[in-house]
């Protein structure tokens, strides 16, 4: 019995080693990576917001791999996918021999692995609009594109100022900003609390967040709380996927039972769909413009 299990273990070991020998990462390593590129830096980014920023400051050609959630700009569709928040593919990341890797703040294991491999990790922290600007400047510094990053920040700031100017002096309606719910029902509604870039965007766009007192980025209020706060406008922002553009009218109608809400009574329920609305990257100014147009048509 013992001998048999020893044999089994030995067999398994051989199989495991064999599998290791033909793993894709090794295969990649044996192939010589193109070195002759004019850019010295090779960047991988697992974070969609950072990928967008890199392309926006002109570091796009240096990006050699992106995360599983990345959709924008269209160029990313041709790049290798390296996993994302929960499933970073460390082998594949290492095999691309990046000089800089943008990862999520919670990926501490990955960070130490990268550092051991001599790869600089840029750790992304999620935050408000100031964090977006700071991240852009830091990425500019890290990729020797400080001036482009500064230009991008200035450009975004002026667009934000323009949005502010457009809504200045107008009465601020009470807005419920819905981030997620079960499609087709009013179940599991998550809304923006008083923290984070979505809340800040809402304020810039001339709305008053009805859950500004909840010190969280997103929270699940009870229906009762929504009724009691009586928003004048309901704005839902969804990335493509869960909600389809074709079902917008049906999704608006879901709110009908809460007819005492001014937003429902006055037909001010808006379901907006687009990834740019929810990614804290360089397209956030466009999102703020959309929000402002929605709240103050």
């Amino acid at each position: 019995m013992a001998a048999r299990s020893k044999k089994l273990i030995a067999a398994l070991f051989v199989v495991a080693c064999g599998a290791g020998l033909v793993s894709p990462a090794r295969a990649d390593l044996t192939r010589s990576a193109p070195r002759s590129q004019s850019e010295k830096a090779r960047i991988v980014s697992l974070v969609p917001a950072i990928t967008e920023m890199l392309f926006a400051i002109g570091a796009g050609p240096q990006v050699v791999g992106v995360g599983g959630f990345d959709q924008f700009p269209p160029e990313v569709s041709k790049l290798p996918r390296l996993g994302a928040l929960l499933d970073p593919d460390t082998e594949r990341i290492l095999s691309l021999r990046p000089t800089l890797a943008a990862i999520y703040g919670s990926q501490t294991d990955l960070q130490s692995q990268l550092e051991r491999a001599g790869i600089r990790a840029y750790v992304y922290r999620h935050g408000g609009i100031e964090t977006i600007y700071r991240t852009m400047r830091e990425l500019g510094a890290a990729t020797s594109r400080a001036s482009q990053a500064e230009r991008l920040v200035r450009d975004l700031q002026s667009r934000v100022d323009a949005v502010r100017a457009r809504v200045r002096g107008r009465a601020k309606p009470k807005v419920l900003l819905v981030l997620s719910r079960q499609p087709g029902t009013l179940r599991e509604i998550y809304v923006s609390g008083g923290v984070g870039f979505l809340h800040e965007m809402l304020e810039i766009a001339g709305g008053r967040n009805v859950f500004a007192d909840v010190a969280r980025e997103s929270a699940q209020p009870s229906q009762e709380a929504i009724l009691a706060r009586a928003p004048d406008v309901i704005v839902e922002v969804h990335a493509e996927g869960m909600f389809k553009t074709s079902s917008v009218d049906r999704e608006k109608a879901v709110w009908a039972p809460l007819s005492s809400l001014p937003a429902v009574r006055n037909k001010r329920v808006h379901v907006l769909i687009g990834q740019y609305l929810v990614v804290p990257g360089p397209r956030f100014a466009a999102a703020a413009e959309t929000l402002a147009r929605t709240i103050h048509p």
Partner: protein, 346 residues
């Protein structure tokens, strides 16, 4: 054997009809009080007079909307789900002759959860009429799990083996849980979060429609429960002992298995797998009224309703205006309370 001794000790001093009447009136009053009082209380102060004032158009009446749209559906679904899970717990514990059995032991809820996950994550829209996609898929998942476990545990025309039933159920549970983890893992972050939120249970069912869809199922299950208690008393002594006392074991087991599975499926597809109600409530009730299933079953259903309605009241008020998942609260309240009762009794 210990069950038999306990049964002897709990032998009625008063005739069973009287005891049943007392229990139903007592626990019924508790459940009724919970159902009547819970919609009155909430994170917002409302005027009941205004809520019931027919002269104000419903569309303009916030108090009425908070009462009838936000609170009442939750209270009703809480009562329905609490009663169904607690009663199913009693039946499963008797059928499996295992005090640790819950409505979720045999994989019914894991099947339901897998169905719900598939819809939530792949965005499959299979809803029709009054049935929306998630409850429909979770009910289908529960039915499939029930069917698999039943087939595995039932040799042709012979009594179910409770050991096989238990093992098949537990294995199926793990298997479905693995599939659930897999599906969640390949989903994107927002979807995975929504899926895990579903697993915490939620009585904010959004409207009356899902409740109306679940009521007939629970009613059928309770109709079957009504035929069970005497058989459960004997079944809990074991199939052989039951057979010698003239119980049609095969029929009784089948009835118990399918009724409890049906109640569980309906409850889980309505509100997600709310834990702890199905194990704590039956034991609490037994500590209060003894072990005779003729008393325990109706008492558990009524107490389960009251318990879950009370927990949900906490869920929607404690962190107001933010929700607390009710499944978190049932476990946090039920666990220590149960332990306290256990220690005090012994």
């Amino acid at each position: 054997m210990s069950d038999a001794v306990a049964l002897e000790r709990a032998a009625p001093i008063r005739p069973i009809r009287t005891r049943l009447a007392i229990t139903v009136v007592g626990f019924g009053a508790l459940a009724l009080a919970a159902i009547v009082l819970a919609p009155v209380v909430g994170s917002t102060r409302i005027s009941l007079a205004r809520a019931f004032d027919r002269s104000i158009p419903f569309a303009d009446n916030v108090d009425a909307q908070i009462f009838f749209v936000a609170r009442l559906p939750r209270v009703l679904s809480g009562a329905l789900v609490g009663a169904a899970l607690a009663a199913a717990g009693v039946v499963f514990q008797a059928l499996l002759r295992n005090p640790l059995a819950t409505p979720f032991t045999l994989g019914v809820s894991a099947g339901a959860s897998l169905g719900a996950m598939l819809v939530l994550i792949f965005g499959i829209s299979i809803g029709f009429g009054p049935f929306s996609a998630v409850p429909l898929a979770s009910f289908a998942g529960a039915a499939i799990a029930t069917g698999i476990v039943y087939r595995l545990a039932t040799p042709y025309r012979r009594a179910m083996s409770t050991a096989v039933l238990l093992l098949a159920g537990v294995t199926l549970n793990s298997f479905f849980s693995a599939l659930i983890m897999f599906v969640q893992y390949i989903a994107d972050f927002a979807q995975a979060y929504r899926a895990s939120r579903w697993l915490m249970g939620d009585l904010d069912v959004g409207s009356y429609q899902p409740i109306i869809a679940a009521v007939p199922l629970v009613a059928i299950a309770f109709g079957m429960f009504a035929m069970l208690p005497a058989a459960l008393n004997v079944l809990s002594l074991g199939p052989d002992a039951a057979a010698t006392r003239g119980v049609d074991v095969v029929r009784a087991q089948r009835l118990a298995f399918f009724s409890a599975s049906l109640a569980t499926s309906a409850a889980v597809s309505l509100a997600g797998p709310i834990g702890f109600v199905g194990i704590v409530v039956p034991h609490l009730v037994r500590l209060m009224v003894g072990v005779d299933h003729r008393i325990v079953l109706p008492a558990s259903a009524l107490f389960g309703a009251a318990f879950l309605v009370a927990c949900d009241l906490g869920a929607r008020t404690l962190l107001a205006p933010v929700e607390l998942p009710v499944g978190v609260l049932t476990a946090m309240v039920g666990g220590p309370f149960f332990l306290w009762l256990l220690v005090r009794k012994s």
